[in-house]
Symmetry: C2
Subunit: 195 residues, 2 copies
DNA sequence: ACCTGAACACCGTTCAAGT
DNA sequence: ACCTGAACACCGTTCAAGT
């Protein structure tokens, strides 16, 4: 099969490569946004990003028509890693071990990138690249669940959508409680999923 | 024991009863805020609330020094119900059944009141009433967990703080996935908590 | 084509002036 | 004491004008 491999520097809609200066400007905006996120500012004000990147506000809106689109662009890189991890997990030797590992990886990615956590939790993708990544994730997790069911490693009624929602819930629980409880909460969820 | 029973009409800090007109104004603001929340506006703009309640902005700030304080005032009523439910659960006959019932009740309250969900997830209370409710909840859940451990109904390392964080995670998972999965997710969490 | 930034609407927050 | 609302700073979003 042939999953799209979107990268954070992809243009918003068309498949043409960006002109060099446009790509540079785009990268500057993403860097500025990431710096604000890293600094704990979860708001991502468009005006502030424009100023920090040295561009006009209109340019931010041209590249990212909404804050959601910006968040998805920021999350794209890690989202791709997560999809890779899911595909490897679906193909790994011991499926129960793979499920456990994937849960931990997903949690790490979400805790390491608030943009990814937000994107996984949103009901609808703003950018087609994000939709493609979501579908690739679903496909990989479906494969993993199929094998896990056959091996009697998981309750049969669990779907890929459940796994995604439970990823999000797990991330939220750890955010509320603190990083120290990360492994214990993963364990609780894993036990809850077992057949 | 003697837990404070804060009600949403309590004044922000002192214990003196409010003057009649002040209490009326306060109730109007809370009503206006609730209407906006019910209408799906999760933002709770102070200016808009002031206008809707027919008071000056300064009055909103006088009663609720921060948006968090406003959220906590909105959540107080349901928070009280949740604490009651936890205390009844801790005293109920079959402790495993009580734990399951409490989980469901907490989820219902959080899904029915976004303000409560936000307040349960916040690390620090803005108002003393909220802190008192939080402590009462912890005490009741501790009692419940003590009995559940003795009955071998729950993993021994689970604490009241865990339960609170997992409440929040469960709520988030259901919000991401949709109400239809509510009972299944409660089941997953319960299985994960079992000894 | 792409970028700029002024312009307008709106919200957060404060505080001098009113009752 | 308590309330009012003007005032200032800031952010979202659009769009006419520039290159």
């Amino acid at each position: 099969m042939d999953y799209p491999r979107a990268v954070s520097t992809d243009p918003p809609t068309n498949a043409e490569p960006l002109r060099a200066d446009s790509a540079r400007v785009r990268a500057r905006m993403l860097r500025a946004a990431r710096e604000r996120l890293a600094a704990g500012d979860t708001e991502l004000p468009m005006n502030a990003i424009a100023k920090a990147a040295g561009v006009g506000v209109g340019t931010v809106y041209r590249h990212f028509p909404s804050r959601q689109a910006l968040l998805e662009a920021l999350a794209a890189e890690r989202f791709t890693h997560l999809v890779d991890a899911a595909e490897q997990a679906a193909a790994g030797p011991d499926i129960a071990t793979e499920l456990a590992r994937l849960l931990r990886t997903a949690l790490d990615h979400q805790l390491g990138d608030p943009a990814l956590a937000a994107v996984l939790a949103e009901p609808e993708a703003a950018r087609p690249e994000t939709r493609a990544l979501g579908q690739a994730l679903t496909t990989a997790v479906d494969r993993l669940l199929h094998r896990a069911r056959a091996a009697g490693a998981i309750r049969p009624e669990i779907t890929a959508d459940d796994v995604r929602a439970l990823f999000c819930g797990l991330q939220h629980a750890v955010t509320v409680s603190g990083d120290a409880d990360r492994d214990r909460y993963v364990g609780i969820l894993l036990r809850g999923l077992r057949a």
